[in-house]
Symmetry: C2
Amino acid sequence: MTYRAPVRDQTFILRDVLNLEAYADLPGFEDAGIDTVEQVLEEGARFCEEVLAPLNAVGDKEGCHWSADHTVRTPKGFKQAFDKMVEAGWPALMADPAYGGQGLPAVVATAFQEMISAANMAFGMYPGLTAGAYAAIHTGGTDEQKALYLPKMGAAKWGGTMNLTEPQCGTDLGLLRTKAVPAGDGTYRISGQKIWISAGEHDLTENIVHLVLARIEGAPAGVKGISLFIVPKFLPDADGNPGERNKLACVGLEEKMGIHGNATCVMAYDEAKGWLLGEENAGLKLMFVMMNEARLGVGVQGLAQGEAAYQQAVGFARDRLQGRSLTGPKNADGPADPIIVHPDVRRMLMDSRAILEGGRAFMLWTSLHGDLARLSPDEAVREKANDYMGLMTPVVKAYLTDKGFKIASDSMQVHGGSGFTEHFPASQYLRDSRITLIYEGTNGIQALDLVGRKLAAKGGRAVMSFFTEIDAFVSENAADDALTPFVTGLKDVKDKLQDATMWLMQNGLADPDNAGAASTDYLHLFGLTALSYMWAKLAKAAHARIAAGDTDPFYANKLVVGRYFLERLLPDAGAHLTKLKTGASLLMTLPADAF
Amino acid sequence: MTYRAPVRDQTFILRDVLNLEAYADLPGFEDAGIDTVEQVLEEGARFCEEVLAPLNAVGDKEGCHWSADHTVRTPKGFKQAFDKMVEAGWPALMADPAYGGQGLPAVVATAFQEMISAANMAFGMYPGLTAGAYAAIHTGGTDEQKALYLPKMGAAKWGGTMNLTEPQCGTDLGLLRTKAVPAGDGTYRISGQKIWISAGEHDLTENIVHLVLARIEGAPAGVKGISLFIVPKFLPDADGNPGERNKLACVGLEEKMGIHGNATCVMAYDEAKGWLLGEENAGLKLMFVMMNEARLGVGVQGLAQGEAAYQQAVGFARDRLQGRSLTGPKNADGPADPIIVHPDVRRMLMDSRAILEGGRAFMLWTSLHGDLARLSPDEAVREKANDYMGLMTPVVKAYLTDKGFKIASDSMQVHGGSGFTEHFPASQYLRDSRITLIYEGTNGIQALDLVGRKLAAKGGRAVMSFFTEIDAFVSENAADDALTPFVTGLKDVKDKLQDATMWLMQNGLADPDNAGAASTDYLHLFGLTALSYMWAKLAKAAHARIAAGDTDPFYANKLVVGRYFLERLLPDAGAHLTKLKTGASLLMTLPADAF
């Protein structure tokens, strides 16, 4: 079985749960009627299934090739697939129509992003990083910069990258050393070394636009002295075409456990010519425009890799004949039953599916709020959507990647010994997905961002809105018997999350280490609450279809998976609450040298 | 930081918790006074740290080399290290003195096995599999077979393997096809293909003794027609030296995600000469002698890989300067604080340590029961120890490997982006440890063995003994205030396990799928109970030392980690109980094609 994009599930969420049609008055949405969207996704699915998925193992086995002339060759077939993608206009799906983009809603682009990240995550990172750099230039660039870069980058004719990390600084950007010296003509000369630069050099695009964090000579120490620069590989000439080679080079590739098809570069800047993007010393804020895009994108990758791995596990479990059902043969004429008859195999598949279907709704629901934050004419809607984007971003990133990796690991487990060999794709999913827990801020950093920054922002307004929204859903649906287990489960987990939030507000203030000690359990409790809310919405929509006489088993199956979520995944909520309330004291007792 | 064997922790467990000296009247134990044992372990530690650990990354990067002449070359340095190991007599540690072994207790050998599996798991599999084959011949061989093979294999001059799996059968050995034809002279001709044969071919020993499951012509179908054969690579000549080459060959190596230093072979037997081991058609029973040894060994590997990965994470967390403590700088003169100041980093380290220290006690405690089952003069002791070995084996295997992999993954997480590169050892630990959840019976199979076979055996006698033992510990120590949290935690989790056991006995009979559906949660609840019991014993021993005036911080630290276990790991018990009681119905609802 190869990858099949979950268009059916995506359109159900977009149509029946998020009610996409209700937003037809927003710019971009007028062209995004659900039938159009379905067509776009079907076409995207075909591209991902037929062009990208077959290259996934190729990229893993072959990897990228660095040469002493500082060029990087991507795996066989990547360039042709990239050209096809550009030609079909996929990268421009969400780009600004003012710069040649199609201007479709982010929520539609996210659905496509899931497919590309499932079919070939290493490949998908090339256009993905470009989109992040695009967003930063779109937000912070001058009109001239926008006119020069956005049309090319929006179409993925030029690539884009993020250059943050240096050997001595990853999370802690205050330690950054790369220098920018004013050249006197309004440009700067950038010098320094950057590491782990995804897509830093490759043969897919005619130019690569590096966004580089650097410190202008004489700038304040720490994070307040960091600026962001546009540093293209080839300096655009007067016509906006790639001209003279800039003084930067990929001096090596990182050997990694996974995503071999993506070039992870060590970049050397040696008085490279750069243009300031945004304000001096305000680079970090702009970098976070990219970073937030990227974090959501990584959450999508986690889910996507989980989906792809799950599909392989299902295929294996249906085909592999081994042993007999505990309740008597189910394939009496065959030598053995398919292993999908075994409850413990199904446990892994159902665990995965309950996360994937609930997580997909959560991802698209969050993405829709991104659209509302940008596009709604109603300020109250924009404000709430903006609050939600801040609050949900670390949860989408960390929760979906933690679970995506767990699903990849369970998928390997369903395969038994075959999964550990490189003849089956389980190993690649496990290895590729593992990076999603780390990059764009480790999941621990996400948890700290959630409890340390996002909860407290604006007096806790965002999380209070979320509680209010859930309360309203609970009371609106309390009388609907068909939804009782979903409403009860949601109310219960929301109460736990509220309890945890209160505990954090009191104890995190008294001792910030309490917040750090609680952060990961809090984030997981938050994830369970968000997915419970999504499952309640999914169940409501499925019930509505069934009540309207739709006999497609899709809806009845949806309710089975939802009830499974309540019975088998939600019980972890209590454990998270108990653990997070234990505070920091035992954690902090041992001196560092006693570990 | 390189690997440091945890001799201090091991000797604390052997001396203070298991009270090794109390068994001095048992054969083998008379020479195993605690001071001697400590010396042996110290020497073993030096060998593992200095000789094996430096070869771990070499084995991973280089892998094994197969040639068209069917030879396999192990990674550079493996042969020299193996020769040193044989010369030092390490493999003979536990071997029977009647055949030239040292006859030390299994519990001591297990401690050494932890070190070897931590320092270099792929290397350790070569002597490890030999020990399994040794055990099968020791149990089921004729006097002649024992005299011929045991001295050589006990010293690891000859290697040994287990040949079970074929392409169409792994877990389900009833599907096995390899044939054995009587040659008329008491020997057999073995023909068939075996896959995933660890250490099936290599350059470390002068001979390799394959134990091969095959079906004698005309034998009953299914598992009742399977016999076990001794099939040496070189047929022993009249003097017992390697003679004529047997008709068997390694026809290829498996490409795997990890344990690259161990040769995973496809073996072809083409009328190879073999000798029946044990009775005709009773091969499976004898194979389980090997298998049970091997399962315990795999549990040890899981723990060992976790320990090695944990040590690397600690080293990184102490050295890596990044960000500041939430409560103000702790390294004010440096550019940043070491990341070990962060509560969420400590959470991962403390989670790991609470499992490792409790798990080490559980592993050694179980291993001591192996000694008692073999050696105790008291039949009641032997019987109970035997019951325990049956009951605990799947728990040691599955719980310690699940957790070992989790620790390896957390260790990578502590490393951040560095962990995903192959410059740090985190990736190898993650990749190597992943196989332990799969081989020698997947962890799902272990869980099914526990609930389907081990619980019910002899009317549930084994698990009832375990409850009685815990009850006795609880009442003996109920009045000791210093132990209150440990005793309370133990009583609570034991009550939950007992509740789950009763639920299983009632509902598993009504519908066997309920047992399958509950199995993995039950196994984890069992693991938490076993570790709670171990932590109560560890705490009691540490308190006794402190009460006696010993001021070594080792003991106070032990209590901190133990209380952390109670606060931060034990809360999962309730979630496991809730989940397992939901039964099989939702799991079994969807038809296979709806996945």
